[in-house]
Symmetry: C2
């Protein structure tokens, strides 16, 4: 148990949730579904019984270290600040080498900070099973989510039904990874029954992941390995600054998972969502009789149907006659957009950036 | 010229423009069409060359005396505070007796503070002509606006085409007054060509209006007349407090204009609107290529048509896919309502009142 570690990846920007999610306070630091906890607080609580509390590390943008410490009440030495955004591979190299310094026998679970898991008890059982398998095996395990629709926004993992792992129910060898498919392919995946959504939650022992870095991303392995003695010392900060400047921006999926031979998928159904879109949020929030999701705010609603309303605290909204819209009111930005057009929010944000010199980001 | 006086009636609450118009700052004190002037500032400027500046009186709710003084830079002794809202008859009785005290030969033009007149030059000519006629005649003149549509929100005046006043073009005897007609009647009015909208702008000499009060509203005349020596003295304030408490709430139209025999209408076309609804505002504001009226605020507009947008200064709005809506964002209230449902705003405001204990009024 003392060898178990968690790395929470909290470096995202969540621009699809603008104007709620801002440079200063991205999505993971918001109570975006109105439960009373921010997403990173939910994530931290979800994992904290799975290992000694001191064994949880959070990797985040250096600008957000303070907010992590404040929201989690975590020992500041466990919050690793990234000087630049470099996707998940450098983030995990950093976390892994930091853990290596204090425990070369670590078994590590890796998780995004901003996902939702509704069936927490089931998740914990699954996690234990993965830890158990990872401890004694050179294996890279990913949690695969049983899909219930041909979602085109997720990556898919094909499991090899012929290669189950004995003694670990639902743990299978991985056959293929596919990045976001088009709708036709997604439908084929769903029908086949062999495909699972890639949750971005991984479990492995430290030797397995370091070997994988060495084999599949030798350049990144080399630069981090050169500083292996500096982690946990005063030199870590400047070493990371220099190293990140040289790093490619690349995901762990693309850099390692899609290439490695020793990848396993734990096929499960834990009520997972990456909360990557307002619509995915909508599916997980409570609604009124007309299907309106009143996530936040005091709303006087008349003849509205299937909208997502999110209004600043202390403000009221009187809304009439909207169907299938997203209405988000933050202190300095009002967003009204049809749900079906939400993929354009990023473009709108670009337009605002260009016109306002980033005042509203 | 020195006998000419203006009474600006600024006691309205403008609740149809909530949440922009608030108890604290009703419509007449707002730059509601985005011209850089508030409505009362526009009104004051429009009349100030028609008489000596010291001859303009403003009657307003006592709570709003300060804001009138601040917005107009007017001598505080010319701002008459009403202790209660009592409609236009008591308001004009107050103004008239106040003027009587300093000039028993006054000729008075009376105007609401919150209307729009686009053709200001033409209006000035018309006003001069009315003053000229009113000076030597026992006449109650109302400005009648040539209607361009069968509007059901206005009162209508039927002119007697057979009784034009010689030497005063377009000045006719009035035949009938009709309060807001239904749409069928309004259409008949328009087709007949004899009907004009009642603008609520009146011109008369002080003897004519005092006689009319005495004849048609003897109760109100009597109570005000009892205090005639107190106007302009230290006792005015307490006298008005007592008198208003006893007054009926009644309009000058209902109390006098509809009953008097000596009523004339100056038939004109001065680009007038009472700005009584968002839609009337819409007609007088500039629009973008898609017909959206961006009255106030920085708006990023995508695929919107024929909306009215009014956003707090310093805030931006990103709005997509709305057609024929009113969107008003004030500091503490967001209103989104279909243009065709705007008559319900008053009801929504009631609901908010009941639910929030008047916090948002």
């Amino acid at each position: 148990m003392d060898n178990r570690y968690i790395i929470i990846m909290a470096g995202g920007i969540g621009s699809r949730f603008w104007p709620l999610s801002r440079d200063e306070k991205p999505k993971q630091f918001l109570d975006i579904i109105g439960t009373g906890e921010t997403l990173i607080q939910q994530t931290y609580r979800r994992f904290k019984d799975a290992c000694p509390e001191g064994n949880i590390f959070v990797v985040t943008n250096a600008d957000h270290k303070e907010i992590v410490i404040e929201q989690l009440g975590i020992d500041p030495s466990r919050v690793l600040g990234e000087p630049f955004r470099r996707n998940t591979a450098p983030c995990l190299a950093y976390g892994t080498f930091r853990i290596l310094k204090e425990n070369p026998d670590a078994i590590i679970a890796v998780t995004p900070a901003d996902h939702l898991i509704v069936k927490e008890e089931k998740f914990n059982e699954v996690l234990q099973s993965c830890f158990d398998f990872a401890e004694g095996n050179d294996a890279l395990i990913t949690l695969g989510i049983k899909p219930d629709r041909p979602e085109t926004g997720y990556g898919y993992i094909q499991a090899d039904q012929k290669k189950p792992v004995k003694g670990h129910r639902n743990l299978l060898k991985v056959k293929t990874f596919t990045e976001k498919p088009d709708i036709d392919l997604a439908k084929v995946f769903i029908e086949s029954g062999d495909f699972y959504w890639n949750s971005g939650i991984f479990i492995w022992n430290i030797k397995a992941i370091l070997s994988a870095f060495e084999k599949h991303m030798p350049d990144m392995y080399t630069v981090f390995n050169e500083g292996r003695d500096l982690f946990g010392t005063k030199q870590e900060h400047s070493f990371i600054g220099k190293t990140y400047a040289e790093c490619r921006s690349i995901s762990i999926d693309y850099g390692i998972m899609e290439k490695a031979e020793n990848v396993y998928v734990m096929c499960t159904d834990i009520g997972w969502s990456d909360l990557g879109t307002w619509s995915s949020l909508y599916e997980h929030s409570s609604v009124d009789k007309k299907g309106n999701s009143l996530i936040r705010g005091e709303i006087f609603s008349y003849e509205n149907e299937r909208n997502i309303f999110n209004i600043s605290p202390g403000k009221i909204a009187v809304i009439q006659g909207l169907k299938d819209y997203i209405v988000v009111d933050s202190d300095d930005v009002l967003l009204i957009v049809k749900k079906e057009e939400e993929q354009n929010i990023k473009q709108y944000l670009e337009d605002v950036k260009n016109a306002t010199k980033e005042k509203f980001l």
